[in-house]
C-alpha cells in the first residue's frame, strides 16, 4: 500500500503463525534456531478449513507474532510449510512492518548461517 516508512524506521517482516497450543514450545524453539530474535504469543480461538479439529484439545489456538529479517522470514515460512502444514492445524502469513532499533531483530551469526 504505496505509503512511505516513518523516519528512522527500517523495513522488516512480521511473521504471524496460528497453531495448536501443543506446538508452542516446539515452534518458538525453532523460530530461535532459524534466526528470529524474539516473539510474542497471544491466546485465541478460531475456525478454519480442516475436518480434523485438533484445536478441540483444551486450550484452543495460539497466535505467535515475530518480527524478523526478510531472509529469516523466508526460512521460517519454508520450515513451517514443510514440517507442519500436512499434519497440524497451522497457518502462517507474512506482512511488512517498519521498526525502530533494527539491530534488535537481527541475529548476526545466524543470519548468514
Amino acid at each position: 500500500m504505496h505509503t512511505t516508512l516513518p523516519m528512522h524506521t527500517h523495513p522488516f517482516k512480521l511473521v504471524t503463525i496460528i497453531a495448536e497450543p501443543v506446538l508452542e514450545s516446539r515452534l518458538t524453539m525453532e523460530l530461535r534456531q532459524l534466526g528470529a530474535t524474539g516473539w510474542t504469543v497471544v491466546e485465541g480461538r478460531g475456525e478454519g478449513s480442516r475436518g480434523i479439529h485438533a484445536a478441540e484439545i483444551p486450550g484452543s489456538n495460539i497466535r505467535i507474532d515475530s518480527v524478523m529479517t526478510h531472509d529469516v522470514a523466508e526460512r521460517v515460512v519454508q520450515h513451517i510449510a514443510t514440517h507442519y502444514f500436512a499434519e497440524y492445524e497451522v497457518i502462517a502469513y507474512v506482512s511488512d512492518v517498519a521498526v525502530v532499533r533494527s539491530e534488535k531483530y537481527v541475529t548476526p551469526p545466524k543470519k548468514t548461517g
Partner: protein, 327 residues
C-alpha cells in the same frame, strides 16, 4: 442390578454430568470459565493425593505389593489389547490405533474419583492406598502405545525420506511431569509426610468441599462430552462399540486381577474402573505431538463422548456387581 444402576443415576455425579450434556443439547453457550475447570481439577487431584498420602501411613508394604503389581500388569496389557482390536478387528491405521490405545491404556482420574464416591456410597469403601495405584497406571499405557506408534511412524518416515520433529523422550517427560502426576504423586508424598495432624488441618478445605467441587466438575465434563456428541457419526459404529465393549473387557480384567491380588469389593470395583477408563488429559497432547497423523477426533470422541459417560452412568455399577459376584 437395575436398582444399583438407578440409584447411581440419581446420585449427584451422574446427575451433574447429565445436566451438562443436556445444556449442550439445548445449544446453550454456557460453559465453565477455563480457569475454573483447571482449578477444580487441581483441587480434586491434590485432595485425592493428600488424603491418599495421609492414609498410606497405615498401609504395609506387603498389602500394597500385589495390587501394585497387577496395576502395572494392567498398564501393559490394556494398551496392547486396545491396539490389537483397533488394528486387526477395526482396520484402523497404525497411527490411529496407537493413538486411541494410548488413551485406553492410561486412566481417567475423574472416573476413578467417581468410582471412589460410588463404593463409599454403597458402603464398600476402597483401600486407602488406591490413589497410589492410580499414579502407577497413568503413564505406562501411554508410553507403550506411543512406542508402538513411533516405531511404525519412523519406518514409514524413513521410507518417505522425511525426518520428524517431536522427540518421544520430551513427550514422555511431559507426561511424567504433567499436572496429574505432579499433584497426585506430590500430594501423596506431602500427605504422607505431614501425616494425620497435617491432614486434619487442611481437610476442611480438601475434604468437606470435595463432593460439591466434583459435582461442578462433572457439570463441565458433561458440557465437554455433550459438545462431542455431534462427532459420534464421524467415528463410525466400530468405535462406538469399542468405546463400550473394551471398557467392559478391561473392567472385568481389572476386577478379576484385583480379586486375585486380595483387594476388597470396593478396591476391585475401583481397580476395574481404572482399567476400564480412558485418559483424556495426559494422553491427547502426548499423542498429538508424537503421532500427528492420528486423527484426534477418533480418540477424543471415544474417550470423552462414549467411554466416560458409559463408565459414569453404567460401567461403575456393573464392575461393582461383578466384584461382588467374584468375592
Amino acid at each position: 442390578m437395575l436398582d444399583t444402576l438407578q440409584a447411581n443415576l440419581l446420585s449427584p455425579i451422574p446427575l451433574a454430568f447429565t445436566l451438562g450434556v443436556l445444556t449442550r443439547l439445548m445449544k446453550s453457550e454456557f460453559t465453565l470459565p477455563p480457569d475454573l475447570y483447571a482449578t477444580l481439577s487441581i483441587y480434586l487431584l491434590l485432595a485425592l493425593g493428600l488424603k491418599g498420602g495421609a492414609e498410606l501411613a497405615h498401609a504395609t508394604f506387603a498389602s500394597i505389593a500385589k495390587p501394585a503389581a497387577v496395576t502395572l500388569l494392567l498398564g501393559c496389557l490394556t494398551p496392547l489389547i486396545a491396539f490389537g482390536i483397533l488394528r486387526w478387528l477395526g482396520h484402523f491405521s497404525s497411527a490411529d490405533s496407537a493413538g486411541i490405545a494410548a488413551h485406553y491404556g492410561s486412566v481417567s482420574a475423574v472416573t476413578f474419583i467417581a468410582a471412589q464416591q460410588f463404593v463409599q456410597r454403597v458402603g464398600a469403601p476402597m483401600e486407602g492406598f488406591m490413589p497410589t495405584l492410580l499414579t502407577l497406571l497413568e503413564s505406562p499405557g501411554i508410553h507403550i502405545a506411543l512406542a508402538i506408534g513411533a516405531v511404525q511412524r519412523t519406518r514409514a518416515m524413513r521410507a518417505a525420506g522425511v525426518t520428524t520433529g517431536g522427540s518421544i523422550g520430551k513427550v514422555l517427560h511431559e507426561v511424567l511431569t504433567g499436572r496429574t502426576m505432579v499433584l497426585l504423586v506430590g500430594g501423596l508424598i506431602v500427605g504422607y509426610l505431614m501425616g494425620e495432624s497435617g491432614w486434619k488441618a487442611v481437610s476442611p478445605f480438601f475434604d468437606s468441599g470435595f463432593k460439591g467441587a466434583l459435582m461442578l466438575f462433572l457439570l463441565e465434563m458433561g458440557i465437554v462430552a455433550g459438545s462431542r456428541l455431534g462427532d459420534l457419526k464421524k467415528v463410525g459404529p466400530f468405535l462406538l462399540a469399542f468405546g463400550i465393549l473394551v471398557p467392559l473387557l478391561h473392567g472385568a480384567l481389572g476386577v478379576a486381577l484385583g480379586q486375585w491380588a486380595g483387594l476388597s469389593v470396593g478396591g476391585c470395583t475401583v481397580l476395574g474402573t481404572m482399567a476400564a477408563s480412558a485418559s483424556y488429559i495426559a494422553a491427547p497432547p502426548a499423542v498429538r505431538l508424537t503421532l500427528p497423523e492420528a486423527n484426534p477426533t477418533f480418540s477424543l470422541t471415544a474417550a470423552l463422548a462414549i467411554t466416560f459417560p458409559f463408565n459414569i452412568l453404567a460401567g461403575i455399577p456393573i464392575y461393582y456387581r461383578f466384584a461382588q459376584a467374584l468375592a
